[in-house]
């Protein structure tokens, strides 16, 4: 972490960047917030640890409108989002000084709490320099431990790889965290009967409160004004009066980001109701991979997106009923 701070100070001092986009220490051991730092003095609050899970690429949309360069710390998976935004002209490469930060997997406090750990006072083992095996947690109710792996976000278990796709420099080491199949959960659902599928998604989506956290945290959902907020389709319903609205919202959201979603997992991370929203996006990714050839959004900035592309021999929509 000190290395990041030192580098930030250097670049601020020599005028390379006008500000630094990173994280500020929170008031609890696990809630650092994304923040801008404009001076060495401000950097005293800078923190970078396992709880810094937010995808800062999203913030670069706004940062691109500011004067001067913004130094930003991006995890490997964040760089896919940055690339994708670059491709869509939503961020300005010249306004970003990207430090690719190594990643050993990011933590999900909800997963810690799900293990019955509450009254958390401090957490040891979450720093990026730690060797990432065990978290030791001091609570009001005594000391608890939790393995790092068990506390990791879902996305880290199916990590795309620890390679930064775009950066100006790299700092810190990464550790492979992939220990599960990316599409296993999608396949599990695909194998269900229509009734089971319906019941599964009804149960999950019934929790949706239409808070729009998934949309607003999503780097692919970068619309200035979402269709669900505008009257262009007569679709600006805010509430969950009927279960259909959640389906409409989540299907269309997934469709709008199909071929653009980098599978960064922010939607699921931020959902207050713990809905595995990534399963929608990942379904499209799987379909695209299978039907139109493997495609990883954000892997580059010049490939043709699957939904703006075609071949004469493309699968017919009837393939949906035919696949096993």
């Amino acid at each position: 972490m000190q290395e990041l701070i030192n580098r930030a100070k250097e670049l601020l001092a020599d005028g390379t960047v006008a500000r630094v986009l990173g994280y500020k220490a929170g008031d609890l051991p696990y809630n650092p917030e994304p923040a801008y730092f404009e001076s060495a003095e401000e950097l005293k609050d800078f923190v970078y640890n396992g709880f810094c899970g937010a995808n800062l690429s999203k913030y670069m949309i706004e940062a691109s409108k500011l004067e001067g360069k913004t130094m930003v710390f991006l995890k490997p998976c964040d760089t896919y989002s940055f690339n994708q935004l670059l491709k869509e002209h939503r961020v300005d490469r010249d306004k970003a000084y990207i430090v690719g930060v190594g990643c050993k997997g990011k933590l999900d406090i909800e997963k810690v709490k799900k293990q019955g750990i509450k009254g958390i006072q401090s957490i040891k083992g979450a720093d990026i320099t730690d060797d990432a095996q065990i978290l030791t947690i001091q609570t009001i109710y005594g000391e608890k431990t939790c393995s790092y792996g068990d506390a990791m976000l879902e996305r880290c278990h199916v990590c795309k790889g620890k390679e930064h796709r775009i950066f100006d420099e790299q700092i810190g080491e990464s550790k492979e965290t992939k220990d599960a199949e990316r599409f296993a959960e999608v396949e599990r659902i695909e194998a269900m009967s229509p009734e089971e599928k319906f019941a599964y998604f009804r149960s999950e989506l019934s929790k949706c409160i239409r808070c729009n956290a998934c949309r607003n945290a999503c780097p692919a959902c970068s619309c200035r004004k979402c269709v669900f907020d505008s009257n262009k389709f007569d679709s600006s319903q805010k509430a969950n009066v009927d279960s259909f609205e959640e389906k409409m919202f989540h299907i269309i959201r997934a469709f709008h980001v199909a071929g653009r979603c980098t599978d960064c997992g922010e939607c699921s991370r931020v959902c207050p109701q713990g809905i595995p929203l990534h399963l929608f996006n990942r379904k499209f990714i799987k379909d695209i991979d299978e039907l139109y050839g493997e495609y990883q959004a954000g892997a580059d900035t010049d490939s043709t997106a699957p939904l703006t592309d075609y071949t004469f021999e493309d699968a017919e929509p009837s393939i949906v009923g035919k696949r096993g």
Binding site: F198, F255, K283, D287, P317
Partner: protein, 146 residues
């Protein structure tokens, strides 16, 4: 055709592209090739004009089946429109299948301006399928059911 369920009159929306399928439907009409009156056609310039929102909207408002027809791949009046439509609809239908909507409530058929017979046959078989699936309960908005 199995029409056992006399009570159930499905609502079926058919999006037809202006250049091929709408003309194919016209040909079916002038050839007096019948298909059930449950099918109502909406004319769009090209199958690529069909937004997934339209299809979900139809289901929301109480449609029991939605079919989209366009020019055969390679014959699009706008060269490439139906290629895009094909990918979009494939993904959309796959998603609907994934969330447990009965397969068969949605369909895409390529019908040329010369295929009046195909148009009528397609509509007959699609309507039959919708009858066999029954009322759409998984995608509709309850407020539209009364």
């Amino acid at each position: 055709m199995s029409l056992e369920n006399k009570e159930f009159k499905p609502k079926i929306v058919a999006f037809c592209c202006n250049w091929c399928s709408y003309a194919g439907a016209d040909l079916a009409g002038s050839s007096r090739l019948t298909y059930p009156a449950d099918v109502k056609i909406i004319r769009v310039p090209c199958s690529c004009r069909v937004n997934p929102m339209f299809i979900l909207r139809a289901f929301e408002k109480g449609a029991d089946g939605v079919i989209m027809c366009g020019c055969h791949p390679g014959d699009c009046h706008y060269s490439t429109g139906n290629y895009y439509a094909r990918r979009r609809m494939t993904l959309l239908f796959s998603m609907l299948d994934y969330i447990g909507v009965e397969n068969g409530r949605t369909r895409v058929e390529w019908v040329s301006a010369a295929e009046g017979v195909k148009f009528s046959e397609t509509m007959n078989s699609f309507v039959e399928k919708i009858y066999s699936l029954g009322e759409n309960v998984r995608l509709g908005d309850l407020r539209c059911k009364s």
